[in-house]
Amino acid sequence: MADLKIRIAKRCAKEFKDGYVANLGIGLPTMVSSFLPEGVHITLQSENGFTGLEGACERGEEDSEIINAGGGYVKVSPRVNYFDSATSFGIIRGGHVDATVLGALEVDEKGNLANWIIPGKMYAGMGGAMDLVTGAREVVIAMLHQQLNKKTGVSKPKILKECTLPLTALGVVNIIVTEMCVIEVTKVGLVLTELHPDYTLEEVVAATEAHLIVSPDLKPYDITE
């Protein structure tokens, strides 16, 4: 599982161009910044109020006035800039964040995204997620292709014809990166653009509820540097 997540993070990293301003979600998305291609330098935004996030602190190195959006103590780059929440969400909503990488509970054929609430199970709140996916220029979903039910051992698709959970936003997803494949969200539907050599096309289709359009230019899933 850890290897699969690293694979996904590595593939997501290839979406970044030099000079990008990006915001990475908690968990798998945070790993993306460790795998940037050579020569690609990005500026990470933290929605609690700064640009220039570097990474987690070692114990004893913490500055109690520098936390990230997950509440962890973090290191910052020399070009860090701190601002209030209005500026932070102005940067997000105003399209000044080039890309965001987030996990998802469900994504559908229209690029609708559900990743903040499971009614009756998870009561946390959307935090900055709705603003991020609405405002960021490119929304990259990084997730395992299916949801594994740990009790029953049965996996079920997360890429659906239509989301069933309450939405985070309408039609915002640009690209979905899973351990199996890369899917682009287009006006005509979901286009399979890359397939990992560990899987057949039939296996990907079987693990996906949504209709997949196979790109005439289908490539192998590429995580080489």
Binding site: S46, E47, N48, G49, F50, E62, D63, S64, E65, I66, I67, A69, G71, Y73, Y82, F83, D84, S85, A86, F89, I92, R93, N112, I117, M122, Y123, A124, G125, M126, G127, G128, A129, M130, D131, T134, G135, P166, L167, T168, A169, L170
Partner: protein, 231 residues
């Protein structure tokens, strides 16, 4: 010049049961802890609290056994209604909803900020694309501008705003270090009564005016004695 300096209990003397307060901070960072303590000491209850999150629960830091920020108010049971963007770190909110002792209104973080800013700066509301087509749009007017849909987010009012400064002068001009800025620069001035708790208090003119990032005009009362957070 009117003297704005108060003790914490003097500053919240007018705070009554059932009132609405804004509390700045992000997961405790940038929250005025001495004002949280004063509210609990005074014993007011049934508050509506506007804040980003529920602070940090007891035990978040294994070696520091206290809740932090609005987590103190949640533990003391003085909140009837919390208006926030994220409450997932504090099981007390979820439990309060199940037990029907607490109401929670979730607002996207960027919209929460703008609702507070609108009240502070005289706007009738703000149009945002965030939340269109989601639960966050329920009960809100939708307005189409040049072919794009927006939600009308109305101002949020409060009786008191409770903010925290790193340095404040006796007029109330203040600055917040690093990531402690968050909601402090929006909430100060947004309520009927605006209190700043500061780590360091200086005389007017003691520091270069450009040191201060925010206006003392927005501050009604100043309380000294805020401590740096101990990790």
């Amino acid at each position: 010049m009117a003297n704005k300096i108060r003790t914490a209990l003097e500053a919240i003397a007018g705070l009554q049961d059932g009132m609405t307060i804004m509390v700045a901070g992000f997961m405790g960072t940038g929250t005025p802890e001495i004002l949280m303590d004063a509210i609990i000491e005074k014993g007011v209850k049934h508050l509506t609290v506007i804040c980003n999150d529920g602070g940090l629960p007891r035990g978040w830091y294994s070696d520091y056994d206290t809740p932090r920020g609005t987590g103190k108010l949640l533990e003391a049971g003085v909140i009837d209604h919390i208006i926030a963007s994220h409450v997932g770190l504090t099981p007390l909110v979820g439990q309060g909803i199940i037990d029907d002792t607490m109401e929670c209104t979730l607002v996207p973080q960027g919209s929460l900020v703008e609702k507070i800013r609108a009240n502070n700066f005289g706007l009738g509301g703000v149009l945002t694309p965030t939340g269109v087509g989601t639960i966050a749009a329920e009960g809100k007017m939708q307005i189409e501008i040049d072919g794009k849909m927006y939600l009308l987010e109305k101002p949020l009012r409060a009786d008191y705003s409770l903010c925290r400064a790193s340095v404040c002068d006796e007029f109330g001009n203040f600055l917040c270090n690093k990531t402690t800025k968050n909601f402090n620069y929006l909430m100060a001035g947004a309520a009927d009564h605006n209190i700043i708790a500061t780590e360091r208090l200086v005389k007017a003119g003691e520091l270069d005016p450009d040191t201060f990032q925010h206006s003392g005009v927005l501050v009604d009362m100043i309380v000294e004695g805020e401590k740096p957070w101990q990790i």
